[in-house]
């Protein structure tokens, strides 16, 4: 999937990949992050 110039809403998982880590990854693909958080489901 081409991510360049796309907007992203990121919901990370506390026991998986946290929001800031996903944010760093997608930024390198040219994505504009409009919202990022990490949530806890346990």
């Amino acid at each position: 999937m081409m991510l360049r110039d796309k907007k992203a809403i990121i919901i990370g998982d506390r026991d998986g990949i946290p929001g800031p880590a996903i944010e760093e990854c997608v930024k390198t693909a040219g994505v504009q992050v409009v919202f990022s958080s990490t949530e806890c489901f346990v």
């Binding site: 998982d13 506390r14 026991d15 998986g16 990949i17 946290p18 929001g19 800031p20 880590a21 958080s37 990490t38 949530e39 806890c40 489901f41 346990v42």
Partner: protein
């Protein structure tokens, strides 16, 4: 000299009515869509008290089964029949909801809990036979009110109703007309937390050789906040619960850190005891009603019973070295610092490999890791995976990356150094601490040499920081030095006393 882990207690209170009325998944759904099928059929998915007691992970939590025995059962465990169905366990008990509501009323010192008179009388007679509840405390249950009065109070929106078997049996009033920090909702959550903490304290004192009067300090580490609008979260649950548990010589304070709270609190306790400030410090926490039925929608969608139907609690006693109990090695402490970062690799390294490396230990030198011991029966159907297993895989992967093990040995590392999860998803409750009771015994039986306890906390949920958090420490077999030193100190004191007596006699002789 290191402080020691002198004892641990674990309790559950089966609270199905609180799942319906107080769990945030359900209350949120009621706000969004009160007519939803989920809410309409919720009661059909709730377990009876007998079913709750017969649930393998619950029997493990109170100590009637070991985690190793639990691992011998095929998952999902809710489909398995348990040989154990007892209320009482080696570490604590599973209390039924009516008695727990009675305990909530006992823990209310501001006359905010009103129980219907017949319910109050029934519960009082049940609690009279509870071996750990002081009869003097039962006076709180002599103030029952008529049902019409309870219903009249409930018509007031500032009241939180109390239910048992679907019927209204009382209510909790707000402690202030305007102050949201003292609303009926907050008072309810705080009293539940306090009551489950008190029950944990009572079991700890009842199951250890230390008397209530000997406890110097209590650190409470739940995830609730008590205070008024001018000091929201001012505390102090620790002292409030200690009062109820008869810890007359204790003071205390609250430590917070989301799910990492207990691990932080244990480090505080270990330091207070090691420094000689206090001899006996308890770390304790009650549970949260907010998380009841948190994953209920997924459970119901998969035709499972709602497994998050218990409020939990625990209490741990940290004492001066007795020469026998496992030591808390405070020289090997892992910390997720501000600069650690949020990647899973950095997080787990900061808590495991980095502190171990400093003292020349490898990841495989830890016999067992006590991580986040959430019960996979609860989390897997909800898509949150097997939390303890994910932690062990991460530690194993780190060991492989550091060439301490071969990649092919990863599965063996997980089974050798890991455990299955059995704790309810009550946030701080599953975080590192559920294994302490078992670990104490296994270290004293010389079955293990070292156990690492890891607590991790989701600080970002408070919206004050995006940071993660965590601390870890090591439990190890007692070196025996404690007993030796205490004997040695006693001997020295006796020698000095004898010398002074001789000297005094000598002086008296001279005067004569």
């Amino acid at each position: 000299m290191y402080s020691v882990l002198k004892g641990a207690s674990y309790i559950l209170a089966h609270t199905p009515d609180m799942v319906i009325h107080n769990g945030t998944t359900q209350t949120t759904q009621r706000t969004i869509d009160p007519e939803s099928e989920y809410l309409k059929n919720l009661d059909k998915s709730l377990r009876t008290y007998e079913e709750c007691k017969a649930y393998l992970p619950n029997q493990t939590y109170i100590g009637n089964m070991t985690p190793q025995e639990l691992a011998g059962y095929e998952q999902p465990w809710f489909l398995q029949k348990s040989e154990h169905t007892e209320r009482e366990g080696k570490f604590g008990e599973i209390m039924p909801e009516d008695e727990f509501i009675g305990l909530i009323a006992i823990c209310d010192v501001f006359d905010l809990v009103k129980l219907e008179v017949n319910f109050a009388n029934t519960v009082r007679s049940k609690l009279e036979s509870h071996s750990l509840i002081n009869p003097a405390l039962l006076k709180a249950l002599e103030k029952g009110v008529a049902l019409p009065e309870v219903k009249q109070l409930i018509e007031d929106t500032r009241v939180e109703p109390l239910y048992f078997n679907g019927n209204i049996v009382g209510c909790i009033k707000a402690a202030h007309d305007i102050d949201q920090s003292l609303s009926a909702h907050v008072i309810f959550e705080n009293l539940v937390s306090k009551a489950s903490c008190v029950l944990s304290l009572l079991h700890l004192i009842g199951k250890t050789e230390v008397n209530a009067e000997e406890i110097d300090y209590v650190i409470e580490c739940s995830e609730e906040a008590c205070g008024d609008m001018n000091q929201r979260g001012g505390g102090n649950f620790a002292k409030a619960a200690s009062e109820m548990a008869g810890l007359v010589n204790a003071t205390g304070s609250d430590v917070r850190g989301f799910c990492a709270g207990p691990a932080h609190a244990l480090l505080h306790a270990a330091a207070l005891v090691k420094s000689g400030t206090f001899k006996h410090v308890i770390v304790a926490a009650g549970g949260s009603t907010a998380k009841l039925g948190m994953n209920g929608k997924d459970h119901v969608n998969k035709n499972m019973p709602i497994l998050e139907d218990c409020v939990a609690g625990f209490a741990v006693l940290i004492s001066a070295n007795d020469g026998v109990s496992p030591e808390i090695n405070s020289d090997i402490v892992g910390r997720h610092t501000v600069g650690t970062g949020s990647s899973p690799q950095n997080v787990i390294s900061s808590l495991t490999a980095i502190p171990l490396e400093k003292v020349g230990l490898k990841l495989s030198d830890i016999d067992k890791y006590s991580v986040e011991m959430q019960n996979p029966d609860i989390t897997k159907p909800a898509g949150a995976g097997n939390v303890p297993e994910a932690n062990y895989k991460m530690i194993g992967a780190l060991a492989a990356m550091r060439k301490e093990i071969e990649k092919s040995q990863l599965a063996d590392f997980v089974s050798e150094h890991g455990l299955v999860g059995w704790a309810p998803t009550q946030g701080h409750i599953p975080s590192g601490v559920p294994y302490l009771g078992f670990a104490r015994q296994e270290l004293m039986d010389k079955k293990l040499n070292r156990v690492m306890v890891i607590g991790k906390g989701s600080l970002f949920l408070g919206r004050m920081t995006n940071l993660f958090d965590g601390v870890s420490f090591i439990l190890q077999q007692n070196s025996g030095a404690g007993e030796e030193k205490s004997v040695s100190e006693t001997s020295v004191r006796k020698l000095i006393a004898d010398s002074l007596k001789d000297f005094a006699k000598h002086l008296q002789g001279d005067e004569g």
